[in-house]
């Protein structure tokens, strides 16, 4: 299977991208920034198609829009607590602009076959099997760069994400770390868009991290577990897409990641159940009848 050059490219780029997305995704979930990830996926789509519509390189638009937007979120999120109505309205409009650029690009390309339609679909849903070897190497280097930077800032970043006040009191530069995190997130969104597409990168960020958080309470183990789940989903998904050609690779990757997340719920269901039953008398001592207390005490 790995004799095919396009599959080698896909596995190389996919592994690095999944590693980066799994690591960053854990911090995204920890900081409760999933909605920001959702927003970035909209922006990535519009940025890429705007670049295409104006005849610039797609990647320039992709990375440019993602990083600028992520920084904007960092600044706005700190100054004013923008509620999700504002955020949602802005994104809906940005996505509408994306539809406009798609339409401009498609009509301008209508004489030359179906390039326009394909470009739109590729940006939305990814084209990891269509990467050239050179593109795959570039993407891998960018993704590995994210991982290296993350390893350097990871420890203080986790500290600042778990308890910002205590971290600040200990002299951790929480503000600078926040900006660094958003830049990393922007670059990750840009690079992940090429693997799974703008609309699905949210899944690659949220699903492995959500599963890791359920399965494992220690932050560092959970961090690497999240990265491991992301990489495994990538491998299994790509293999499945190779074996079943009608299936888009993005679906395979997302299906595996979602299945793992579902599995983590099943695996921890018993623990949640026990916890809920143990803590019930403490939570509502007023309504708890003497009978239930007696049962719990035994």
């Amino acid at each position: 299977m790995l004799g095919q050059p396009f599959l080698r490219s896909a596995f190389l780029a996919g592994t690095c991208i999944a590693l980066a997305a799994g690591l960053i995704g854990y911090v995204v979930v920890l900081r409760g920034q999933v909605f920001t990830g959702d927003a970035l996926s909209h922006v990535a789509f519009t940025g890429a198609l705007a670049a295409l519509a104006f005849g610039i390189d797609l990647r320039a638009g992709l990375y440019g829009s993602c990083v600028v937007f992520a920084l904007l979120m960092a600044v706005l999120g700190r100054r004013a607590n923008a509620d999700d109505t504002v955020v949602g309205s802005v994104f809906a409009w940005i996505l509408g602009l994306g539809a406009l650029f798609l339409s401009i690009f498609t009509t301008s390309q209508s004489g030359t076959g179906d390039v326009g339609g394909n470009a739109g679909v590729n940006v939305l849903f990814g084209s990891i099997l269509g990467l050239t070897p050179a593109q795959a190497v570039t993407d891998s280097l960018i993704a590995l760069g994210i991982v290296v930077v993350f390893i350097f800032v990871g420890r203080p970043l986790l500290f600042a994400s778990l308890d910002e006040d205590v971290a600040g009191a200990r002299g951790v530069p929480t503000r600078a770390l926040g900006y660094a995190f958003f830049i990393l997130l922007g670059v990750t969104a840009g690079v992940a868009t090429q693997a799974v597409g703008a609309l699905l990168l949210l899944g690659l960020l949220a699903a492995p991290a959500g599963a890791a958080q359920r399965l494992c309470f220690r932050p560092f183990s959970a961090l690497w577990l999240s990265a491991g789940i992301a990489v495994a989903s990538m491998w299994v998904g790509l293999t499945a897409a190779y074996l079943a050609p009608r299936m888009p690779p993005s679906f395979g990757i997302l299906a595996v990641a979602t299945a793992v997340y579902l599995g983590s719920f099943v695996a921890t269901a018993g623990r949640d159940f026990q916890r809920a039953h143990r803590s019930r008398p403490e939570r509502s001592p007023v309504t708890g009848s003497p009978g239930t207390r007696a049962v719990d005490a035994s």
């Binding site: 900081r31 504002v86 309205s89 409009w93 849903f125 959500g210």
Partner: protein, 310 residues
Amino acid sequence: MALPPTLSQAGLVQPAAADLGQLFRLHFMVNAFEAGTIVAVIAGAVGWFMVLRRQSFAGHTLAVVSFPGAAAAIWLGLSATLGYFAGSTVAALVIALVPRSSSGRPRSQESAVIGTVQAFALASGVLFVSLYGGFLDSLTGLLFGTFLGISDHQVTTLLVVAVVVLAVLAAMARPLLFATVDADVAAARQVPVRALSVAFLVLLGLTAAEVSQITGALLVFALLVMPAAAAQQISARPAVSFLITIVVAVAVTWLSLTVAYYSTYPVGFYVSTFGFAVYAAAAGGRALTGWLGTRSGRPGVPPVPIGVGS
């Protein structure tokens, strides 16, 4: 958008009154306006409650889920309308029934669940489109909306579902508003907060499915959120802002359909742009009023959206 060239040329030069009359002589445009009006009214009504309840993310997810529903229905040879409703309703029930996690950090877990559901739903949609092997055009239509080719039958379906949704919403409007503004007090007064929440999510799902059929799955937000958000900036009185929401939604839809008819760009773009313009104007106007109020020394009374202060 395969408009006859004569029409679009005539329209692009100058949309005169005669052309506007022509607009309503075309059967598919009449259907589009009927469907658009139904959808705008229901989106305004349900969206008003959704914005108040801060369930925008859930509404977005429900809308996105209607896309795999429709794609699956097309693949299986069923009607896309059925798929829209089935997808959104099932997703609404799933979100409503997922137990609130009692362990650890429930909030971040909950948003991770919604995000995963959303991404997986979109991925399934692509799978169905790929299995169907149909045209890429239909994919763009499902995602970004189309107003061409809405059948009489579809308009009837939209109308029936809309009437049912509005009737249920009217029946539970008072307790729902109470439960939304102050859930704890409402629960203490024996209002069934949990049941209301589930019922509202199902209504939201049905609405998202209706709106998807005009604006496309990705742009439902435009009609669901923006008019309500704008109206709640303008007035703090529930009845007034509710009416403004519906008027804005209908106006935005009519304007978008008219402009989209004369141009080549997708209707979803116009709906989201006009909606955003109204919202930006309302928010800007409110900020200006507040600023002028503080400048002139009088205690300015900028209208505060209900439920925000509490």
